[in-house]
Symmetry: C2
Subunit: 460 residues, 2 copies
């Protein structure tokens, strides 16, 4: 048996126990009360990196949650791989929809169920374990650095600055990231495009207090009705976004690229069945994969106002709010889109209400090269483990920091993700397949060898 | 000094203490956990009625929260007054907007601040105290019955049936209700019209779980966006309601009636200033008072869906819901309107989502006569206390049970309310003016004498 496989088989129970220790720390970055948990998770990772064989590993303070940085230098003349991941997770509400407590991992039907099991603690941990494996087997052919942040789910507000301040320490040839998905457990794919993000909040205020809807209803603008009008107006009858200038920077996709994309296996019935919908929705003139891959979107992520409790309350609410985010495609800029959004909402808001627009966080879209040694090595590694050449795909998700890395550090990223669409990342009952976890470790471990070879042959 | 005034002056502190005892019981009818408080409040009122001099007073069970019934028979040949009120109150959220705990009454700037201080515990208590006063002064010229329910804020679901079952016990010549407002503390008015109510809830379901808005956004209908579209479509550009058939039963109001209404004092600046809005809103072609008095309306009372916590969560919500109520005018029927609403929402819902419509509660509109002894007596009583003849007005609010009384018991109601628009009924910091409380007791006490005289002169 292959020594990589043997090592994984021998240590698989310990790998899980170590991962579970990390999952049990409820490191929700966007909720203030979990501040101490962020530090706890960072320290846990420092211990794990030491244990795996890093020369050094430390918790670095930032203007936000801390960053974990660790490294192992084999030979300064060899290439250096910078591994990026995040130890923060999404909030868990609505918690009543979870079958088990979100921070107590359980294994069921070959999957780990817990918040962060896939996004990104489980995936990040594959990187730590592949590193350990290669090191223990004295097979690590390059230098490795780890940069693990605690604010990815908030849009990485502090990491860009921290990278700028630590540019030398972070010097590397390629950034390796496991935080994306494959097409299916037996159809490997590599994400070569990510959408950007602009996340906004709109607050509509009518009267300065909740009013009796009988005494005032009909004579006072209802902020919930006005907010509904505003949101409704943001898509036209073809589900195009109506914000002036919104599509100005979107690049045309060639017919060739679109037909290449169309070759990725896709079953509409399966797509609908998986999330239990009768009909799909989307921008006229585009396929499902195009709608999530190459087109920008606008979605309400949350809406609230007035009485939302049991029974009825005849109130005309003082305020109504919505969280609205837009996914962006290459060449769109989150700052410009935030500005266009804000200006448009202020323009269309009627004088009967006051409207406040807040920009939460943004991220640039990213397109990853497929013609470099790192990608070619990945293609070989996936093929050797899964028996199929991975398909390059564009994902609808965003990892805002990836394009920042390129701008600040001048380093390209390779997105070797092993998640599945069914992982329920960000949702109740998030889960991660054990098969993906172990195959991921194997693929990453093999990637090191292929990468070293590809680099060598390129130099020659 | 007038003996009525003297009695009030002598006992005013005790009156308040007794009222506060009732206010301190958090009898929120629509919230299940307050079930025991409902019984507690009912029992408190029974003790108060006994103390005030009732021959009998008891808690009656119903299919919902209990009804308090008490009576005093002076002389079976004399007219009988049935006093109606409610001991239940609205929920208190958002509780963080209250300056003090809602169920701990405090007096500040001549007002009682507490949930229920105006609606309806304070107003109901004026009736109890006026009854006590007349009885103690041996001046009560008619028989008095009290019927105090605990489900008014839920639309009185049980009281109609209870009235039918207790029709003989409830026999009376007039129903007296203090649960409405006056134009101003120095401009008395009597409510002669009430709007009806149809209270609905709409739940829009997209995917069967919350999804990652990046991976799915753009290809799956977002229930919050769809709900916004639905709500937005319910008013046209003139703020007319678009539900087919909605206005079919609305009666035309004569130019004479409209010009009579227009004579009620009204300051647009004051109206806007009081609730801190820059511009009013409403149906084209109608004045503010017409919009709240004689026109039906549709308002969102609450809306919720997706992530509503701190920070950001990039979720495509599975569900979004709204509570939507319509105020109805004479000749509109809540059951018909509920049906039209439900059918319309189902018609316009796109096939990309599933929509559920629930009817919460309804109530018929009511128009009260101004040419009967009870109204004439009220006019005289207000004039003698306030120095001005009260103005008959149509209120935008609803007391759904009032038209049920007429249908089931065959008795007309007289709405002697002493609330003010500034009372913040149903809102945080609900309050009731002490001046209104004491003048209300005085006016009601005087009304008994005038009513008796009017009846006598009518019989002659």
């Amino acid at each position: 048996m292959d020594p990589i496989k043997t090592y994984i088989e021998t240590h698989k129970e310990r790998f899980l126990e170590e991962l579970f220790g990390l999952i049990r720390i409820p490191s929700i970055s966007s909720v203030g009360e979990h501040k101490d948990d962020m530090v706890k998770a960072a320290r846990y990772l420092v211990r794990q990196l030491h244990k795996a064989g890093a020369d050094s590993a430390d918790v670095f303070t930032t203007t936000g949650h801390p960053v974990v940085f660790g490294q192992k230098t084999i030979d300064p003349t060899k290439p250096t791989v910078l591994i990026y991941g995040h130890y923060d997770v999404m909030p868990v509400d609505p918690v009543n929809l979870w079958d088990a407590p979100p921070f107590e991992p359980v294994i069921k039907d070959g999957k780990i169920y817990a918040r962060g099991s896939a996004d990104d603690k489980g995936q990040l941990f594959m990187q730590v374990k592949a590193f350990e494996l290669m090191l223990q087997q004295k097979n690590l052919p390059c230098n490795v650095k780890f940069m693990i942040e605690g604010e990815e789910e908030m849009g990485s507000p502090a990491l860009g600055v921290w990278c700028r301040e630590n540019k030398e320490m972070l010097a590397a040839d390629i950034i390796l990231v496991s935080d994306t998905s494959m097409i299916a457990h037996d159809i490997p794919s590599i994400t070569v495009g990510l959408r950007g993000l602009a996340y906004m909040e709109v607050e509509v205020t009518g009267p300065d207090k909740d009013l009796h809807s009988g005494l005032y209803g009909g004579a006072v603008a209802n902020p919930a009705n006005i907010l509904a009008k505003i949101i409704a107006s943001l898509h036209d009858e073809n589900n195009h976004i109506t914000i002036p200038g919104f599509y100005d920077d979107v690049l045309d996709i060639s017919a060739k690229e679109r037909s290449d994309m169309a070759r990725a296996p896709f079953s509409l019935d399966e797509f609908k069945h998986k999330i239990n919908i009768d009909e799909i929705w989307g921008e006229k003139g585009y396929t499902v994969n195009e709608r999530t891959g190459i087109r920008p979107t606008l979605d309400v992520n949350g809406i609230w106002g007035g009485y939302t409790g049991e029974g009825s309350k005849t109130v005309l609410p003082s305020k109504a709010s919505a969280k609205i985010s837009m996914r962006l495609v290459p060449n769109q800029h989150p700052d410009i889109i935030s500005e266009l959004f804000t200006r448009h909402i202020k323009n269309i808001a009627p004088p009967t209400v006051k409207v406040k627009v807040i920009a939460h966080h943004g991220g640039n879209p990213y397109v990853s090269p497929t013609d470099n040694p790192a990608y070619r090595a990945a293609s070989k590694a996936y093929e050797s483990v899964f028996g199929r050449i991975p398909i390059p795909v564009r994902s609808g998700g965003s990892i805002p920091i990836i394009s920042t890395f390129e701008q600040v550090l001048g380093i390209k990223s390779l997105l070797m993700g092993f998640g599945l669409d069914t992982d329920a990342a960000h949702s109740p009952n998030e889960n991660y397949h054990l098969e993906c976890f172990y195959k991921g470790i194997e693929t990453i471990a093999k990637w090191y060898g292929f990468y070293s070879d590809e680099r060598d042959s390129e130099v020659k």
